[in-house]
């Protein structure tokens, strides 16, 4: 159990590359915080700074309020699950699990009991005498997890622990991790580049880009109210549609106007001055295909991607250049490549971002 805090931490490598810049983050005792970002966004570096495997160039790392910036990893009492698992190849599974306890001078009987207990919980008792090389990918993942759990550390650090698993195994393991977090109620920091993993696992999600945090919020909040265009594009699958628009007065009402379509803002509280340039975002789930004449715009169907329960349709709309309008339709809609369809944006589901800063500007949209 531990609260972890990073205070204005920066990490610049000797090569001059800045991995983390002036980052402040508080991780609450018992939460599972996900660090989410594309490769090179510095999320793994943040994890390694918390672990003590990297020393910040400036700033502080605190665990339970204590400054541990210069405390070496062995004395931080955190456990880490590596992306490559990093099992000791020359030790049996039992020895892999026991090592962390032995190092701490726990007596042999207690070590044995803890190892047995952990192995039972993870269903790897039958593997205890094997070497890592004799295990399948999923089994190695479990052993790596076991090696972390067995020690009952203050907090767990996960570095993309599922990325080397088959998709089928991944879903199951994700569920187990969620249960594990519930059972142990220990602080966990979890690095991933998979937005679905982040959404489903995280108590809160911190979205990173270029060494800085773009938004920290509960998973659904990040999905529903992305703080800027980067987060908007990164979270959600299929990705949010984003269009450059201007806010204009047309007749009585105000409209968001783009070369491709126009959205009537009547009855919607938008705090954007007339003539301002904005990015308008709409999730593919929040666009409907409607009969001719009822929509905001129209386009030709270029790609139809069946996902099973729903289908994603990519529309080529004049004026948007190479950008498609992505629309999610029910799987039974009979839309085919080459069709011309009319679409309607649900006006209460708009995300509006400042065109210059990329920051969110309006805050309706309740769901």
């Amino acid at each position: 159990m531990a609260a972890i805090a990073l205070k204005r931490v920066s990490k610049v490598y000797p090569t001059g590359q800045t991995a983390v810049r002036d980052l402040t983050l508080e991780i609450v005792n018992g939460e599972l915080l996900v660090l989410l970002g594309p490769s090179g966004s510095g999320k793994s570096t943040v994890l390694r700074l918390i672990a003590g495997l990297e020393t910040p160039t400036s700033g502080q790392v605190l665990i339970d309020g204590r400054d541990v910036t210069l405390v070496p990893p062995p004395r931080r009492d955190l456990a880490m699950v590596f992306q490559s698992y990093a099992l000791y190849p020359h030790k049996s599974v039992r020895e892999n699990l026991a090592f962390g306890l032995r190092v701490r001078g726990v007596d042999a009987a207690r070590v044995d009991a803890r190892v047995r207990e952990t192995a039972t919980a993870l269903d790897i008792e039958a593997l205890l005498e094997r070497r890592p090389a004799q295990l399948s990918g999923g089994q190695r993942q479990r052993v790596a997890l076991g090696r972390a759990i067995v020690r009952e550390p203050k907090a767990f650090l996960f570095d993309e622990p599922l990325s080397n698993l088959d998709p089928t195994l991944r879903a199951g393991t994700r569920t187990e991790l969620a249960l594990l977090h519930r059972r142990l109620a220990t602080t966990m920091v979890y690095v991933t580049h998979d937005q679905e993993e982040a959404m489903t696992l995280g108590t809160r999600v911190a979205v990173m880009r270029a060494g800085a945090i773009e938004q920290v919020a509960p998973a659904l909040e990040v999905f529903r109210r992305p703080a800027n265009t980067f987060v908007a594009r990164f979270i959600g699958s299929p990705a949010m549609n984003l269009w450059a628009c201007t806010c204009a007065r047309v007749g009585d009402g105000r409209h968001l106007v783009s070369p491709a379509f126009s959205i009537d803002l009547t009855g919607i509280d938008v705090a954007v001055p007339d003539g301002a340039g904005v990015y308008v975002g709409v999730r593919p789930h929040d666009i409907d295909i409607v009969p001719n004449g009822e929509g905001n715009g129209a386009g030709g169907v270029e790609i139809v991607e069946p996902l099973g329960p729903v289908t994603v349709v990519h529309l080529r709309v004049g004026g948007l250049g190479d950008d498609f309008v992505r629309v999610v339709v029910p799987a039974d809609s009979r839309i085919e490549v080459g069709d011309r369809v009319t679409f309607r944006v649900r006006p209460d589901r708009l995300h509006v971002f400042d065109a210059r800063t990329g920051q969110r500007v309006i805050d309706q949209h309740g769901r």
């Binding site: 003590g52 990093a86 020359h90 962390g100 190092v103």
Partner: protein, 270 residues
């Protein structure tokens, strides 16, 4: 067909390479009288005459002991010191690492011949001529750079996460080195050790130059000095050669499997 052709070529090559050794072993068991008679692949009679002469007539144990001491000390020091140095070089990040490594390797490549003389002067100055350290130190000069170079490459292949896992598990640097790094480095360390041992076991030039009497001669020097003014005792020379070869070759062959397996199969992947 193709694969068979290649296998055949490989087999022929191996046989060709091994042939001189085979001949030497056979000849060492052949009486002098028949040594220069028509050579035959399968010997007609094997005798131990030469071996008896070697350990009975001459004191061949002394050079063997000298060689063991010198080669052993060189190996331990080279792998020990060189290993620590290589580990530091492999893990530290600093500018100019590549040139330092290049330099180090270049040193181990300098012709030994070319520094016999200055080394002689230096050792005389230090009163180390005709002593064990007087051979071990020059050997280290040549063996250690190669060891460092080999091991830097090897340590680099070790995934750093394994050590980081050790640190996260609560082990200090030293314990991690001892329990994680060393066991995993065994193939690299063994290879370096064997190469160093063989280099010092077979080295001839320094041994000839820096030893002054039979009490310090190493095996190669002793063998060379078997030659008399008018007569060369071929049989004894071959027997001595076999004595100097067989134990080392045996060690290599036994250790080989693990070394090759370790160095080439990327066995480190967890």
């Amino acid at each position: 067909m193709r694969a068979r052709g290649w296998a055949l070529v490989t087999a022929l090559l191996v046989v060709a390479i091994l042939f001189p050794l085979y001949w030497a072993v056979i000849a060492s068991f052949t009486p002098d009288s028949r040594l220069f008679a028509s050579p035959s692949l399968v010997p007609r009679a094997l005798v131990l005459d030469h071996y008896r002469a070697l350990f009975g007539g001459r004191d061949f144990w002394t050079p063997v002991r000298n060689s063991l001491v010198v080669a052993g000390a060189t190996t331990v020091l080279s792998v020990g010191l060189g290993g620590i140095c290589a580990y530091a070089l492999a893990r530290l990040r600093f500018r100019g690492k590549a040139p330092v490594l290049a330099f180090v390797l270049a040193v181990s490549m300098f012709p030994q011949m070319s520094i016999v003389s200055p080394l002689y002067l230096l050792l005389r100055e230090l009163r180390l001529l005709n002593t064990y350290p007087g051979l071990v130190l020059p050997y280290l000069t040549f063996a250690m750079p190669l060891t460092i170079w080999l091991l830097v490459g090897f340590f680099r292949q070790l995934p750093p996460e394994l050590e980081e896992a050790g640190l996260m598990d609560g082990a200090g640097r030293l314990r991690t080195l001892w329990e994680i790094v060393l066991p995993l480095s065994w193939p690299g360390l063994a290879t370096s050790a064997i190469l160093t041992f063989l280099y010092s076991w077979n080295e001839f030039l320094f041994a000839l130059s820096f030893t002054l009497g039979p009490e310090r001669y190493t095996v190669p020097v002793a063998i060379t000095l078997f030659r008399g003014q008018y007569q060369v005792p071929w049989g004894q020379i071959l027997a001595a050669a076999v004595v100097a070869t067989v134990p080392v070759a045996a060690i290599v062959l036994v250790a080989e499997r693990r070394i090759v397996a370790g160095l080439t199969s990327g066995a480190v992947k967890g």
